[in-house]
Symmetry: C2
Subunit: 415 residues, 2 copies
């Protein structure tokens, strides 16, 4: 059976970069920049004051001391931010100047207001100041022609600020992936319907929709489709038309699974793999349909969420151009012994917590693939390779972190 590593590789090999769209600046947060941002101007665009104080000529302060202060005459015109003056500063004079205001001609330093004494229309200066003191240079942050942000960068708030200061009200980004979710199964009812004997509520289309949104893509929840060839075909056709990726869940029963499989393949899709040597999520299937990608996810609530985390999320992030497509991983010590009853790679839902300098991974409890609570409690998914049956407390395993590490030992489960 296909290894999880190889299955992931096959999926990622089908990724292609989605096309760019132009968005308003604030709508681009969290997306991938699809253009190189070159500045057409210096930032700041002019030398300006870093402090509230007095713009002076530094040679005027030569030899100044407490016992022999230099006195400069303060000009009547002051220099608030946002205003320029045509006047040049002459020796023996000072302009009162505010933070951000342009440095007037003739001045080459700013003395902070708290460092001078003001008497009548004069300031008394008790030490010399070097040229350039408290002046922010034109182009200090960015110079004209410089590459400010590279294509492919994820846009974070500081980048939004940078782009604003460059006057970019719109920006080209890789568009979000559109991902359809179809839950199949005659046993499924929707959230507000009444339970009848033998029926259960569809939870998969909800958890998948939330996972898609969490990954920054656009979910399209088609909802529940009964096990009827024509309905399955209609739902698939519509989803393939409107979305980049289609997720089906459920219907992995004998004969039924083949219904989804048959319809997908009748439509002309190519099966890339079916069944992966993993627990949960063994019956996972993956097809391509031109550029469209289709996952046949298992029906069990945990298996479906795990397969999304492990295979679909990295694919989505790669198609959206993200540099970092995988969750962070850590090595953690098993908090308890473990007995593995499968020859497949087991992916165990765990809580990873720090006690002192050591990271511990503790099972979230019953690991049945129907037990959604094991996923709700988990902040990580540990990979237990199939090489052996008995694992001892303290042995290191690799954990993919889906949430932050638990830093409060009192909230950790007992080892």
């Amino acid at each position: 059976m296909l290894s999880p590593e190889r299955a992931l590789q096959i999926v990622l090999d089908q990724a292609y970069l989605l096309e760019p769209v132009e968005l308003r600046l604030l709508d681009s947060r969290g997306m991938t920049l699809a253009e190189e941002i070159v500045s057409d101007m210096d930032i700041p665009p002019f030398d300006n004051s870093a402090m509230d104080g007095f713009a002076i000529r530094s040679p005027d302060t030569l030899g100044a001391s407490l016992h022999n202060p230099v006195r400069l005459k303060v000009l009547e015109e002051d220099l608030p931010a946002g205003h320029t003056t045509q006047k040049s500063l002459m020796p023996g004079y000072a302009f009162q100047i505010m933070t951000g205001a342009p440095i007037p001609a003739g001045a080459d330093a700013v003395i902070p207001v708290e460092d001078v004494e003001m008497r009548n229309e004069e300031i008394w200066i008790s030490r010399p100041y070097k040229t350039h003191t408290n002046i922010r240079d034109r182009g200090e942050e960015v110079w004209a022609g410089e590459v400010v942000l590279t294509q492919g960068k994820t846009i974070y708030p500081a980048d939004i600020g940078l782009l604003a200061s460059l006057g970019r009200s719109k920006v080209a980004v890789i568009r979000k992936a559109k991902v359809a979710v179809i839950a199949t199964g005659d046993e499924l009812i929707d959230i507000e319907e009444n339970l009848q004997p033998g029926l259960i509520r569809d939870s998969n289309s909800y958890s998948l929709t939330a996972q898609i949104a969490e990954a920054g893509a656009i979910p399209q929840r088609v909802g529940i489709v009964a096990d009827q060839r024509e309905l399955v075909r209609q739902a698939l056709e519509r989803s393939l038309m409107e979305c980049d990726i289609v997720l089906t869940s459920g219907g992995v029963s004998v004969g039924k699974y083949d219904l989804v499989k048959e319809v997908v393949e009748e439509l002309g899709a190519e099966l890339k793999f079916w069944k992966v040597s993993q627990k949960p999520g063994k019956p996972l299937a993956f097809w391509t349909y031109g550029q469209k990608l289709v996952f046949g996810l298992p029906g069990n609530p945990v298996a479906v969420m795990f397969c999304f985390e492990r295979y679909v999320r990295p694919l989505i992030l790669k198609m959206m151009g993200r540099g970092e497509i995988f969750r962070p991983t850590v090595k953690a010590a098993l908090a308890h012994d473990l007995k593995i009853k499968t020859e497949r790679t087991q992916f165990m839902r765990v809580i990873v917590g720090r006690k002192g300098e050591v990271l511990w991974a503790s099972s979230t409890g019953a690991q049945g693939s129907g037990i959604l609570r094991s996923m709700s409690l988990a902040n990580g998914i540990a990979t237990i390779p199939p090489q052996k049956e008995i694992w001892k407390q303290g042995e290191l395993v690799e954990v993919m972190l889906i949430r932050e590490i638990e830093e409060r030992p009192e909230r950790l489960p007992p080892a």
Copy 2:
């Protein structure tokens, strides 16, 4: 001057929990649950098959072996998921059953389809099966009356799935904070206006708006307000009416800052602190106005973003009921020597990366509080306490992580 620790405490002491609202399930992702979720039903609601196979009576398989297989007659009616049968299973018979289908009366085990041989209307069974094999118990995941999710939990995709399976189409969550952003200053122009001498583009209201959204709150970007008492008052009054938190930025020049300060206080707000012993962000001010909270943020682009990260973000998360209100912190070794020129605590923008087992923190370059790129490049903010001037390469500092740790050493800056 107030220490950063004390300032943070004063801010957080003013936090109060925002009121709950009822949202549609999928809209509750990432928010704080404002009710205890108790199940009114068992999940699964009935014993059901964990496999595609045959429902049997386990005593029928006693003594079965390869040489002496047990043969059971397969009933004509099969049991797909979503269907129940009124028939009881009699000794010597088997029902074909699909994953998820209710276990019929009389049966107590399911044999997977791949473990039997089917000949004519019989299955041949070559080993004994214990009672309960491949059966998922009613209530295995959740039993009626059980607390499934506790009040205060952040709602993640698995919780959305759990809530769906409980039939909760709506859920009570703590509402999002509304946060106004006012940029003051005569020198500011908006993103699409033409630069004139002495003017710069407002970037702060954009980076703050993005930070507010990233924190999961609702930004209200009021935009640029000129340094005129009446305009500042109108903007503040409207923001205080409509929002929970008001952020002003800029106008920290002499006299001008007092304009914001004076107007805020004329409106009846109470100053909690002004000036914090930190670099950047020294002129930070904080007021309360009844339950509304007002920050006077500095005008410098980095200082404003830093103050948001350090003071506003934890406040927002606390008011939205989040259990974890702080960014994760790590200890990292300085990648280079450092000379500190301030008596205040310095917050240095750094890239934290892993080389082997060691975390290194490397300055993102010029740390002027106008240099937004130092923030754009950073994945962490290191706290450099004021106790000494000279720091050596390898000394440990505490870093607040604002992005993930850089795991690719080749992308780290040289030490």
